[in-house]
């Protein structure tokens, strides 16, 4: 049986309480660290497979879109003035069916649908289908969209 003087025992208790506080912090940090490794957002069933990223409206041109609005990308989707398109761009310089984007072989592709004013990727005209990478700016007529994941 061990015995300690009263003051020594209180010193031990005092240190023990502080140590418990710090061990607790360490433990919570370790628990908190674990979920940095898990996937950040649990995708909603079904929807997850379809939404590949977003298009952020950088410049709405003459169309009624709000700059800064985010459009979910689904595959395939079409852009144009006609209401049959996935995204309707009501601007006089956008053709009825202007451009199309689709997902294939793990990348996102954009093609021009023989529009009058063309489709531009980073200000270069899209002739055949080209892959779009995050951060690229897509210009359809006078509407500019940024591809964000």
């Amino acid at each position: 049986m061990t015995s300690l003087s009263f003051d020594d025992f209180l010193l031990v208790l005092r240190i023990a309480m502080t140590v418990v506080l710090y061990l607790f912090i360490l433990q919570v940090v370790l628990v908190a660290r674990r979920d940095l490794h898990v996937a950040p957002v649990t995708p909603l069933p079904g929807a997850a497979n379809r939404i590949i990223g977003h298009l952020v409206v950088v410049d709405s041109g003459k169309s009624p879109l709000t700059p800064g609005a985010r459009i979910d990308i689904v595959s395939p989707m079409t852009f144009g003035r006609s209401p049959t398109n996935t995204v309707v761009l009501e601007s006089p310089v956008v053709s009825t069916e202007n451009s199309r984007i689709y997902f294939q072989n793990r990348s996102l592709w954009v093609e021009d649908l023989k529009s009058r004013n063309g489709t531009y990727l980073n200000e270069r005209p899209v002739v055949a289908a080209v892959a779009v990478r995050p951060g690229d700016i897509l210009r359809i007529g006078d509407v500019r969209l940024k591809f964000a994941v």
């Binding site: 049986m1 061990t2 015995s3 300690l4 003087s5 009263f6 025992f9 209180l10 010193l11 208790l13 005092r14 240190i15 023990a16 309480m17 502080t18 418990v20 506080l21 710090y22 061990l23 607790f24 912090i25 433990q27 919570v28 940090v29 628990v31 908190a32 674990r34 950040p40 957002v41 649990t42 709000t66 700059p67 800064g68 609005a69």
Partner: protein, 457 residues
């Protein structure tokens, strides 16, 4: 038996990390109560003991009712495992540790206050138990969160109505010199209730709902003249009116800390929603003008500011600056590892169990203990913002971010006041300060965070 337990809680999704994280707070409570029991025994000359051996230690169950807190924390943990197994697992241990500190402090300080209150610890314990119940109720009621968002103006009006009641109460008794006006005495059990604690929650919900709806307008619309950005006034109006009305009420009630808190919530949430520093700039400008006007108009504002500047001047340290100076002396006498729990003399500080609980912690647990408590608050705020980042929609993100801001601002304002960095304002240190309304309101916000952190079922 085993199968029924399996049915109750899904074993695979059992909240083990939370379970293990509750062990150290429990040890902390046991150690604290052991120290308290031993020291209190030794203060009585007849019972003094010189040496401590393993069989002279008091038995575990004689350590007092505070051990109930351990039971309550584990019970809450089990209910959470059954109710929302996927919710954040650090919130309950973190708040458990903070409230353990609060209950221990209330138990220790109560009998030594200028007006002794030996039951202070029991009261705080009961409040925490009740608050844990409120937290679970909040988690249950917010299964579907839409009602929070739909009734946003109701929340705003309810919050303001509550504070207006206190205003009427304060005006009717014509007593503007008592330290705290923001109280309503309700007949039952001599119960004092602070409506501002509920106002806090109401405002965060309102701001989150309103800003979620008008976020696009606030971040995109507005006019730009040169480098200056002017926000769209039409969308700003409800926010500004609410802000000004609540600020005015608190300035009249002399609750500067609450005014600051509400202003802080406003700035933090509008910045979270719009991402525009311009709002912060305008708000700070408005704050500077408002503070200047309040300083010119109200004597008590001048007093508090002058305390920060000359607390140690001869005439001040014994009168208006007495509390702050005593608090600093308490902190200083704590040193690095403190005097030891129940071995200091924090009760020299007036209102040590409410305004100056941080000074009491600093004296008895030292700088090491106070820093640990601060780190735990930082973890709490970190978790809240992490939940905000992972929120499902703008409303939920803003709600979690707003709640995180409330905890952060409150801790900052009261600690800065205690350390004489800022004028002292009586505002509770979340979870630790003695007081029922505050503990309950804080746990309701934790309930909201728990719900926000769980994926939708």
């Amino acid at each position: 038996m085993v199968t029924s337990f399996r049915n109750l809680v899904n074993i695979r999704r059992y909240r083990w990390p939370e379970f293990f994280s509750l062990i150290l707070p429990s040890i902390f409570i046991v150690l604290g109560m052991l120290q308290l029991t031993l020291v209190e025994n030794n203060k009585n000359a007849a019972n003094q003991i010189a040496t401590v051996s393993t069989n002279s230690l008091p038995p575990l169950l004689s350590l007092g009712p505070n051990l109930l807190l351990i039971v309550a924390l584990f019970a809450t943990h089990i209910v959470l495992s059954w109710m929302i197994p996927d919710a954040d697992q650090t919130l309950l241990p973190v708040t458990g540790m903070l409230s353990a500190m609060g209950v221990l402090m209330a138990t220790r300080l109560g009998p030594y206050l200028p007006t002794p209150a030996p039951t202070l610890g029991y009261h705080q314990l009961l409040w925490v138990l009740l608050a844990l119940g409120c937290m679970l109720a909040t988690v249950w009621l917010t299964r579907d969160m839409r009602w929070l968002r739909l009734y946003k103006y109701t929340w705003a009006l309810a919050g303001l109505g509550l504070v207006a009641l206190t205003l009427v109460h304060a005006l009717s008794i014509h007593d503007f010199n008592s330290p705290t006006h923001d109280q309503l005495n309700i007949g039952l059990f001599d119960f004092t209730f602070q409506p501002s604690e509920l106002l806090k929650i109401c405002l965060v919900i309102f701001y989150a709902a309103y800003l979620a709806e008008n976020r696009e307008m606030l971040s995109q619309a507005g006019t730009k003249i040169g480098p200056l950005y002017f926000p769209p006034l039409k969308q700003m109006m409800p926010l500004i009116i609410l802000l000004i009305v609540s600020l005015l009420m608190f300035v009249v009630l002399r609750e500067l800390g609450l005014a600051l808190l509400i202003f802080g919530i406003f700035v933090a949430m509008i910045y979270l929603a719009s991402g525009r520093l311009a709002y912060v700039g305008y708000s700070l400008g408005g704050f500077a003008i408002g503070a200047l006007i309040a300083y010119k108009l109200f004597g008590y504002v001048q007093d508090r500011v002058s305390v920060v500047a000359n607390a140690f001047e001869p005439g001040v340290a014994t009168s208006t600056g007495f509390q702050v100076v005593q608090g600093l002396i308490a902190l200083g006498s704590g040193g690095i590892i403190g005097q030891g729990f129940d071995l200091g003399h924090p009760t020299f500080v007036p209102a040590v169990h409410t305004d100056f609980v941080a000074a009491a912690i600093g004296e008895e647990f030292g700088m090491a203990g106070l820093f640990a408590i601060l780190a735990i608050f930082m973890l709490l705020v970190y978790r809240a913002f992490r939940i905000a980042i992972r929120g499902r929609d703008t409303f939920q993100q803003l709600l979690a971010g707003g709640i995180g801001s409330v905890f952060a601002i409150q801790t900052l304002v009261i600690l800065a006041g205690n350390l004489k960095i800022m004028p002292l304002t009586g505002i509770p240190l979340p979870f630790i300060t003695y007081g029922g309304s505050s503990v309950i309101a804080n746990f309701i916000m934790i309930g909201l965070l728990l719900r926000l952190s769980a994926p939708e079922s």
